[in-house]
């Protein structure tokens, strides 16, 4: 499987309660919704939202928080790379 293919599967995979799609929806080109507060989340795919994945510190911050929430652990560097590859591939 390609990194983007692995990333797509990882994006949909469910942890104890949530998956990435819980807030970001199954299509990263769509806006998402915070599962607790209901706040709109801008699309994750750079094709739909060009500012995404341009700020490394911001990307790391959200991976740290959201991987802990979904998987109860940090994501590995390989997993993050796959998700980034997936998000970059969507809508292109």
């Amino acid at each position: 499987m390609t990194p983007a293919g692995r990333g797509a599967a990882f994006f949909r995979a469910k942890g104890a309660e949530w998956s990435c799609t819980t807030c970001h929806t199954a299509d990263p080109r769509n806006p998402g919704r915070h599962v607790v507060t209901g706040k709109t989340i801008e699309p994750m795919a750079p094709a739909a939202n060009p500012r995404r994945l341009t700020d490394a510190a911001k990307v790391e911050k959200w991976f740290r928080r959201n991987c802990r929430d979904v998987l109860d652990r940090e994501c590995t560097a390989a997993e993050k790379a796959d998700v980034v590859a997936y998000l970059r591939s969507v809508g292109r």
Binding site: V36, T37, N66, R68, D69
Partner: protein, 162 residues
């Protein structure tokens, strides 16, 4: 009471001016950019005057489990925001000891329940509002830090249109 017209006019003007001032309250500080960006990422950035310094310290020390989600920050960023929140926090009232432990939730602060005691709890659960954490549902200028009663528009109690 025997009062000439001029005295009455002065008294009326004073009363109207004081009534207006009571609505405004002390001026809030200019928004801290890190607070606005980080604390406003998932919900309204709640103004520092809504909680005591002790409450803010407790909130900021527990960001790894912030009401059920991980909201952790880089330590230097967290320190900066904590400092600003604490400096602009609600001051304790003389003769009224603060609760121990200090509340994490603004909705559990004494001033909040006092301000909202005219509303039944069910009003906060209506589809248009959702929860008492959703200030902007009624406080239409909450995102500008303005919670004046003049800008209050409480949605109807019925189900949401969508």
């Amino acid at each position: 009471m025997d009062m000439d017209f001029r005295t009455m006019l002065l008294a009326a003007t004073a009363a109207i001016t004081l009534a207006g001032a009571a609505d405004a309250g002390p001026k809030p500080p200019p928004p801290d950019p890190a607070w606005q960006a980080e604390c406003g990422a998932c919900h309204l950035a709640y103004p520092p005057r809504f909680l005591s310094a002790d409450s803010w310290r407790r909130v900021m020390a527990g960001l790894g489990d912030h009401f059920g989600t991980d909201a952790s920050l880089e330590p230097a960023v967290a320190r900066g925001i904590t400092g600003w929140l604490v400096a602009n926090a609600r001051k304790p009232r003389a003769g009224r000891p603060e609760p121990v432990p200090p509340p994490l939730r603004i909705t559990e602060a004494r001033w909040f329940t006092a301000e909202h005691d005219e509303l039944p709890a069910s009003r906060f659960k209506s589809p248009a509002v959702g929860s008492a954490a959703n200030c902007a549902a009624c406080h239409r200028t909450a995102d500008q830090g303005n919670f004046s009663e003049r800008n209050l528009k409480v949605p109807l109690a019925g189900p949401a249109k969508e």
